[in-house]
């Protein structure tokens, strides 16, 4: 079990991180992850919709043809979206309005539509559960760190508190700022990973 956990954690958190390495679910991160508050909402929305939908979808028989299965996955997600959105309206009222159509767009996220077929539904249930949790966690960590940096550079604040950065650039909170900043973030991640890899290879 520990071995299974170890491999899933490593794969999901950095080797095959769903956003930083695979380039999936980038849209919401670029547009919506501008502050820590919005990151918290994105984490809540993505994690609950994806986890619950994948878990429910995993009970669908594999005999159903691919075309119908995909439709059923998204229909399940759109059903899951209803209670998730109802709860969100109570907890994150401002963020729900700010996100607009990007919130319901999470029902067609790549993790649910493509990863399920390629990866999760081909492995055993416990392994799948482990994998899904850590992939979601990988996404959540990236969103949190990225939003923290973006909020600091864009508004000079951390969770709404002014931290006294004189060179804040508000335009980085716009989608084009998100593209550039996330591109740099991805490159920095790769740079660090390459250093770790070469350091590991040397020590071996």
């Amino acid at each position: 079990m520990m071995k299974l956990m170890d491999s899933s954690v490593l794969k999901a958190l950095y080797e095959k991180n769903i956003v930083l390495v695979s380039g999936m679910i980038v849209t919401t991160v670029i547009v919506c992850a501008t502050t820590i508050k919005s990151a918290l909402f994105l984490i809540y929305a993505f994690s609950t919709i994806t986890f619950l939908s994948i878990m429910i979808a995993s009970f669908l028989p594999r005999k159903i043809v691919f075309t119908l299965r995909i439709i059923l996955y998204t229909l399940i997600a759109s059903l899951v979206y209803v209670p998730v959105a109802m709860l969100a309206q109570h907890i994150f009222n401002t963020e729900v309005v700010q996100f607009g159509m990007y919130f319901p767009l999470l029902i067609v996220n790549a993790m649910l539509v493509s990863q399920t077929e390629v990866d999760y539904f081909r492995i055993s249930k416990p392994k799948m559960l482990c994998s899904v949790i850590f992939y979601i966690l990988g996404f959540d960590i990236v969103v949190m760190i990225f939003s923290f940096i973006r909020e600091m550079i864009s508004f000079g604040t951390v969770n709404g508190n002014i931290v006294g950065i004189s060179l804040s650039t508000e335009s980085l909170s716009k989608p084009f700022g998100g593209f550039i900043l996330f591109g740099l973030f991805m490159a920095m991640f790769r740079f660090i990973m390459n250093i770790i890899k070469s350091w590991k290879a040397k020590s071996e």
Binding site: S78, M101, L105, P175, A187
Partner: protein
């Protein structure tokens, strides 16, 4: 002149550069140039036909005062109808075409760009609820979204050689440089549209 206007509009209100919709799809498809163009045409088909069907759905939604929480489900049903009918139609018309295009249909149907395009079109109707939005407006919005993706795909196709060259540092190769490139174009378009 009309074509230039449509192209200019699809550039300025580009669904990729201004709203970042379909980024994951374009990032994955950009690995293969032929894929990118074929995919763009299929996505344009989905956004256009989808918007046309959304016209009737929106009328029903607004007349019956459906809870907005269920709207995404209605759009998913619309996409599913186009998805299944296009697969059946292609199979009936030509087996060769079916085998060539089926993978693009699978990729195109359920992604941010198609669902997003339907939602944008629908938002247009809600914002202007006092004035009647015509069927042609829906058609044009859907076509515009698809063309936006096509234009973006073409821009990537042109830049692909330079973005893939040895001059690009190792850590920036692939997705990072592509995102920065999209960011720069997006910033330029944002500047033009603000004038």
């Amino acid at each position: 002149m009309v074509i230039i206007k449509v192209l200019f509009a699809s550039m300025l209100s580009n669904i990729i550069f201004s709203k970042a919709l379909g980024i994951s799809t374009i990032l994955i498809a950009s690995k293969n140039k032929t894929n990118l163009i074929r995919l763009s045409f299929v996505i344009t088909f989905f956004t256009t036909v989808g918007s046309m069907l959304t016209y009737s759905a929106d009328k029903a939604i607004l007349n019956n005062k459906f809870n907005p929480l269920f709207w995404p489900m209605i759009y998913i049903i619309i996409i599913s109808i186009i998805y299944i009918s296009s697969l059946i139609l292609l199979r009936v018309v030509s087996e060769v075409f079916f085998n060539k295009l089926k993978k693009y249909i699978h990729i195109s149907a359920f992604n941010c760009i198609v669902l997003g395009a339907l939602m944008i079109t629908s938002e247009l109707n809600q914002v202007n609820s006092s004035t009647e939005i015509l069927f042609s407006d829906y058609f044009m919005m859907g076509l515009n979204s698809g063309l936006g993706f096509l234009v973006a795909a073409y821009i990537f196709k042109i830049a692909h050689v330079k973005l893939d060259s040895e001059d690009v540092p190792k850590s920036f190769k692939g997705y990072p440089i592509l995102l920065i490139y999209i960011g720069i174009i997006s910033m330029a378009l944002y500047g033009i549209s603000s004038i």
